[in-house]
Amino acid sequence: MQDVYSAVLPQAPYVIGAYGLIWVALLGYVGLVFSRLNRIEKEISVVEAAVKRREKSES
């Protein structure tokens, strides 16, 4: 067991760092894209409403 700990412990920060980086990057990317999608979708619904109002007032 002593051997296992002596081999694992010095390497652990690098392994944790690698996996931490991967998860943060994956979740961050998904979160970023979804937040941008939500913002654009909201903006589209606002502009679409404006287009409809404009068409109504013209007709």
Partner: protein, 230 residues
């Protein structure tokens, strides 16, 4: 079911598979042993480093494919697809470099080594970054698309070179997917790796489709704004 819904489903499935592979990496896959019999804990990085690298090669292929399609048709949609594929490639390339550097430090005792695999992959990283530098430096839309397509096709040539270089040249980098009955991996290790690989490719596809959907929505928004303005 439309493309966006499929992409979201693939994203969830990819997330589930990568999570499962992550748990299997630490709780199921046998630890790798060094020649002196000690546990090689750093080998655990392999289960995600390699899938991320393979994903970068595969997604980069679509940069070249859409580049060819654009040059043949001059259809701007292919230029957009090539750009998004390169964006996703950049994401995977940076993750590959970062996880690779961490593994190199443990396995080789240095942060970087100018050996064939690392050097060719570093060149690929620079080429992917250069793709965006090129795009941002050309103002004319049509010229930008043509240059980017041609550059993307040429840049992709480095991907197979980087993948196969460990088989062609003397390299200290491990040869991954070397062939044989189980690629030299025991069943739990191989299954964990395959699940991580499939999960990562699914995430790559989902990222690409989500970004494409975003760009399409942006175009729709611009068209609506013109309508309101006009």
């Amino acid at each position: 079911m439309n493309r966006t819904k499929i992409a979201r489903l693939v994203l969830v499935l990819g997330g589930m598979l990568t999570t499962a592979a992550f748990l299997m990496t630490f709780f199921w896959a046998n630890p790798s042993l060094l020649p002196d019999g000690r546990v090689d804990f750093s080998q655990k990085i392999f289960y995600f480093h390699v899938p991320v690298a393979e994903a970068s090669f595969l997604v980069f292929f679509f940069t070249a494919l859409y580049g060819v399609k654009f040059l043949l048709t001059k259809d701007r949609r292919y230029d957009m697809r090539a750009k998004i594929a390169t964006e996703v490639t950049l994401f995977f390339v940076l993750l590959t470099m970062a996880t690779g550097i961490l593994w190199t430090k443990v396995a080789w005792g240095v942060w970087w080594q100018w050996e064939p695999r690392l050097t060719t992959y570093f060149i690929m990283t620079l080429l992917v970054i250069a793709y965006f530098v090129l795009r941002n430096s050309v103002e004319d839309e049509e010229k930008r698309a043509v240059y980017a397509a041609a550059f993307g096709i040429l840049a992709f040539i480095d991907a197979p070179i980087s993948f196969f270089i460990t088989r062609w040249a003397e390299s200290i980098h491990p040869v991954v997917l070397a062939g044989g009955k189980s690629s030299g991996l025991e069943a739990p290790m191989l299954i964990t790796f395959i699940i991580a690989q499939i999960g990562m490719l699914m995430l790559g596809y989902a990222f690409y489709e989500m970004r494409l959907h975003e760009e399409e929505l942006k175009e729709r928004l611009e068209a609506l704004k013109v309508k309101v303005g006009g």
